[in-house]
């Protein structure tokens, strides 16, 4: 039980503090993303804060954004994205692909 946190801690020194990017909230409810459309400024790094309000885990995944992250049921997770060129970047929940779909629009 104690070893896993230790493993993560070993990597901690790399986590240097940087300027805080804008936070964009996103909610998962009933296996859907709310909002399904997220608008962010192009050319800027932002922090998606995803709150999974379902009781089951979900995996935020996007080939276009090059991101994947498991978010346990009831948990909040941060995903850094960008800086992005203007455009549309679809994402989906891998564990509920039929309903959990959304898109990041950089403009």
């Amino acid at each position: 039980m104690r070893r896993l946190p230790l493993l993560a801690l070993l990597c901690l020194p790399f986590a240097a503090a940087a300027a805080d990017p804008a936070e964009i909230p996103l909610t998962i409810r009933n296996h859907r993303f709310e909002p399904a459309e997220v608008r962010i400024p192009a050319g800027q790094k932002v922090r998606l804060v995803v709150h999974n309000q379902d009781g089951t885990p979900e995996e935020f995944e996007s080939h276009e954004l090059n991101r994947e992250k498991v978010i346990p049921g009831g948990a909040k997770a941060s995903i850094f994205i960008g800086p992005l060129q203007a455009g549309k970047y679809p994402f989906f929940g891998e564990f509920n692909e039929a309903t959990a779909r959304g898109v990041v629009i950089a403009e």
């Binding site: 790399f14 089951t56 885990p57 498991v70 049921g73 909040k76 850094f80 800086p83 564990f95």
Partner: protein, 273 residues
């Protein structure tokens, strides 16, 4: 049930291919199967523990625990692959030469085999923890446990089948070329994993992406297509890599290739060993 089968297949594919390639690359080492199965068993245990602790791991390191853990697991796997390739570069010649050389190398080989166990365990751990979480979520969604397990078993069998096909295919490569072919595959696997490691460190805001993306071939060969998936698993293909990923990829190729070259050189001068 089909959903469970497909996800488990996709998750197990990467680990199965890796095990297939490693099993082939280590085919001359005595006791290989015991170490391989020990690695799989340790990986499954670790995956269940990670899945059970998922919530707590996600909260660690300011919400970046998962990226850290993934990056560490990948980093460890890459270094074990590097070790394997460099060790094999030194010993492949003697092994091809005949069984007597193998007997002499047993003591050395055991050390190499424990590296293989760690490597296999890391691959199974990473893919397995996601699978366990997903199956758990399906089961708690009301799909019957029997259905979920049947689907999972189907997907796992399909993944293992592909891994075995890889193994069987590699065994057909003539002995003279065999070590070269498996070494090249292991090299590409390691580089692909290093690229993924960079991606997690970027996702966790620990490293900058530098140019992002460096290029975009997604219209040409999408990551979702069967060919794109296979290339991703085998060689770390990414249609939109960042410059940092490319640096990790090329750096790993260069470092392992250099290590193999250096390991081979003294073996030549000390032929009677």
């Amino acid at each position: 049930m089909l959903g469970a089968a497909i996800i488990v297949f996709r998750e197990s594919l990467e680990a199965a291919l890796l095990i297939g390639i490693i099993a082939a690359a280590a085919r001359t080492l005595p006791g290989r199967n015991r170490w391989l199965s020990a690695g799989v068993a340790a990986g499954v245990m670790g995956a269940l523990i990670v899945a059970a602790l998922a919530g707590r791991i996600a909260d660690m390191a300011d919400g970046m625990g998962q990226e850290m853990l993934n990056a560490c697991i990948l980093g460890l796997a890459v270094s074990m692959l590097a070790w394997h390739n460099i060790w094999m570069a030194r010993h492949a010649r003697e092994m091809v030469a005949g069984a007597r050389a193998i007997v002499r190398d047993v003591a050395d080989g055991r050390r190499e085999l424990s590296a293989i166990m760690v490597l296999v365990a890391m691959a199974v751990l990473r893919e397995g923890s996601e699978t366990a979480l997903f199956l758990y979520s399906l089961a708690s969604e009301g799909e019957s446990a029997g259905q979920v397990l049947a689907g999972g078993a189907l997907g796992l069998a399909a993944g293992a089948g592909v891994g075995f096909a890889m193994y069987a295919g590699l065994l057909r490569v003539p002995v003279r070329r065999f070590f070269g072919v498996t070494a090249a595959l292991v090299l590409l696997l390691a580089a692909g994993m290093a690229g993924q490691m960079a991606r997690f460190l970027i996702q966790g805001d620990i490293l900058p992406p530098l140019a992002n993306p460096l290029w975009d071939t997604s219209a040409w060969l999408s990551a979702n297509s069967p060919a794109g998936t296979l290339l991703h698993v085998l060689a770390g293909y990414d249609p939109r890599p960042s410059a940092m990923q490319a640096l990790f990829y090329l750096g790993t190729v260069a470092a392992i290739a250099l290590g193999m070259f250096l390991a081979r050189a003294p073996a030549r001068s000390a032929t009677p060993a």
